[in-house]
């Protein structure tokens, strides 16, 4: 039992995995639900990562602000221009030279500085705001351009820089939102000496988020996959358990029926033997009347024996262990013996029994003689039992091409036309024989058909109610 359970689990898991791998697309409709959960999970990861990033960001910001401060600190005096140039070159070794000259604007307010690049010598104009004495940073400084000019590279890395004055007014930078809140990391730092705030926004989370998309998808697939495997394993197990239970029940049923049939046989056999010894006058002679009634008991008992036999046979047929043994058999001999065995019964029923066969010797055929005998006995028994006194039963054997044809023809009660289709089903008894009160249980023809089918043959019936029936068995020559 425990081993069977183990097998069931192994089968169920294997079945579940096979199912998952062959039907992965099934999962797709379910991903959306899980996606929401996964998104929360992903944001949490991003937040943790960004705490680290914040640290680096602030470091970079400090560098930037120092630069800003440097520029702001530039002296408005003409003499300070050199200082700016020098500082600029210090920070940007890629520039060959830098020179700051006054712009077209009032020369006391601005300088224009042409900058030459070391490699292609292209001129880049950097507008550097300069203020003479009494400068007011709020009004004249255009820091965005300063920052943009001096740290293109850094700007590229940082995303966006905004600078606010001490009162929180935006001095430099755009106010456009970059994306949904929470996805952009911000850092602020005060510019010393001015009371200004430099705000740097870093789209770092968005970058991380993209990176985590792959992780998220994997997580979804694993979660959904696991859930599905679990469900499938469970259902497979359930199905297999039901099948196992079914099998056990079936086995128990068969064993029970076999036992029951055997238990029924024991008293039937004892009854049979008791009555038979009485009928055989073993214990002294009987009067005619005693004998008549005892014979009836004996007949009834024999019918019970047959019913139990039929039930046992049906159990074995349905379990597929009827135990066929095919041997080359002389059909004519088999039938001859069978018909001889029925002579007594026919005589008692006052029915004439014929056996006709072709004179030519017939080839032997591979059949199970015991089972075939059982089948043909049933047909003959029916033909005699459901006949009229002075009726006829004719058994015919002939070989037509590669087939043997055995026909059992009677002049009995026949079968109602509308019931012909149910003739070979279990427990079927035609209305007319039920009315006649002829004993029988409707199991015989079911067994007959099973046996003939197993021989690769066919059985057919023709009948006219009140006139008789012909049962034809066709067996292939093999």
């Amino acid at each position: 039992m425990s081993r069977e359970r183990l097998y069931i689990w192994i089968l169920a898991i294997a079945g579940g995995l096979i199912f998952i791998f062959s039907n992965l697309f099934w999962l797709l409709p379910f991903i959306e639900d899980v996606e929401r959960a996964a998104e929360r999970y992903q944001l949490e990861i991003a937040r943790r990562v960004s705490t680290q990033t914040q640290f680096f960001l602030e470091k970079r910001l400090r560098e930037l602000s120092l630069l800003v401060v440097d520029i702001l600190e530039v002296n408005v005096q003409r003499a300070a221009v050199e200082k700016i140039e020098k500082k600029f070159l210090e920070r940007h070794p890629e520039f060959l030279t830098v020179s700051l000259t006054p712009s077209q604007l009032p020369p006391d307010q601005y300088f224009l500085g042409p900058v030459e690049r070391q490699q292609d010598l292209k001129t880049i104009l950097i507008k550097v705001p300069l203020i003479y004495a009494d400068f007011d940073l709020k009004t004249v400084v255009d820091l965005s351009e300063v920052v943009a000019a001096v740290s293109q590279e850094r700007i590229g890395r940082l995303g966006r820089v905004r600078i606010f004055d001490g009162q929180g007014n935006l001095v430099v930078g755009e106010t456009r939102e970059l994306g949904p809140p929470g996805k952009i990391l911000t850092a602020t730092i005060a510019v010393p000496g001015l009371g200004w705030q430099v705000l740097v926004e870093d789209p770092i989370i968005e970058a991380h988020a993209n990176k985590f998309k792959a992780i998220r998808l994997a997580a979804i697939l694993i979660l959904v996959g696991m859930a599905f495997v679990a469900i499938l394993v469970w259902s497979f197990r359930k199905i297999l358990m039901i099948a196992l239970r079914e099998r056990q029940l079936h086995r128990a049923k068969s064993e029970y029926l076999a036992l029951m049939a055997h238990q029924l046989r024991t008293p039937l056999a004892a009854t049979k033997w008791n009555i038979k010894t009485l009928l055989d006058a073993d214990w002294g002679p009987l009067t005619k009347k005693q004998k008549k009634f005892l014979e009836r008991s004996y007949e009834s008992n024999e019918q019970m024996v047959k019913l139990v036999d039929d039930l046992l046979n049906i159990i074995r047929i349905e379990e597929g262990r009827f135990g066929y043994k095919f041997v080359k058999t002389d059909l004519a001999q088999l039938l001859e013996k069978l018909v001889t065995g029925f002579r007594q019964q026919a005589k008692q029923a006052r029915v004439v029994l014929f056996f006709r066969r072709s004179k030519k010797p017939l080839p032997k055929v591979s059949v199970d003689p015991e089972k075939l005998n059982m089948a043909l006995s049933n047909l003959l028994d029916n033909a005699i039992r459901y006949n009229h006194p002075q009726g006829k039963v004719e058994v015919n054997l002939e070989k037509i091409n590669n087939q043997f044809r055995i026909a059992v023809k009677d002049t009995g009660v026949g079968i109602p036309a509308k019931q012909m289709n149910r003739l070979f089903s279990k427990f079927f008894r035609a209305d007319n024989v039920v009315k006649l009160q002829v004993a029988g249980f409707g199991l015989g023809l079911y067994i007959v058909k099973n046996i003939i089918d197993r021989h690769g043959g066919q059985i057919a019936a023709e009948s006219k109610e009140g006139q008789g029936s012909i049962f034809t068995v066709v067996l292939p020559l093999r």
């Binding site: 024991t266 004892a270 049979k272 033997w273 038979k276 010894t277 135990g323």
Partner: protein
């Protein structure tokens, strides 16, 4: 001298009929209700024929046959008389050395007597 027949049968009615019928035919009859007693009677009395049931208490018919297989009792003819009528049971009984197998419900007392006579005369 009358031939001795040992009847090993647990069903009381069946055993009574067998015993009566065999006595009537002039045999000397021994009775046993189970395989164990049957085996003791076999070794002590050495009957001429054994009529054996299969479903028996203590030691069943098949076990009984296996037991006598390696003794001098193995030469005694055994007639199985049982309610088990399946092909497997019949084959097993004959394989274990029984001379014949009779399904109770399918044979009459006279059929059995015929077989008994054929085996012991």
């Amino acid at each position: 001298m009358a031939k001795i027949i040992l009847v090993i049968e647990d069903d009381k009615y069946m055993r009574e009929i067998l015993v009566e019928k065999l006595k009537k035919e002039g045999y000397q009859v021994l009775e046993a209700v189970d395989g164990e007693t049957g085996f003791k009677l076999t070794t002590n009395h050495h009957p001429d024929l054994i009529i054996l049931d299969i479903i028996l208490p203590v030691v069943n018919g098949f076990e009984y046959l296996e037991r006598i297989k390696n003794t001098d009792a193995s030469k005694i003819p055994v007639l199985i008389l049982s309610n088990l009528g399946q092909k497997e049971d019949i084959d097993r009984g004959l394989e274990l050395g029984a001379k014949d197998y009779i399904v109770k419900a399918h044979f009459t007392p006279n059929d059995l007597m015929g077989k008994v006579r054929a085996l012991v005369g």
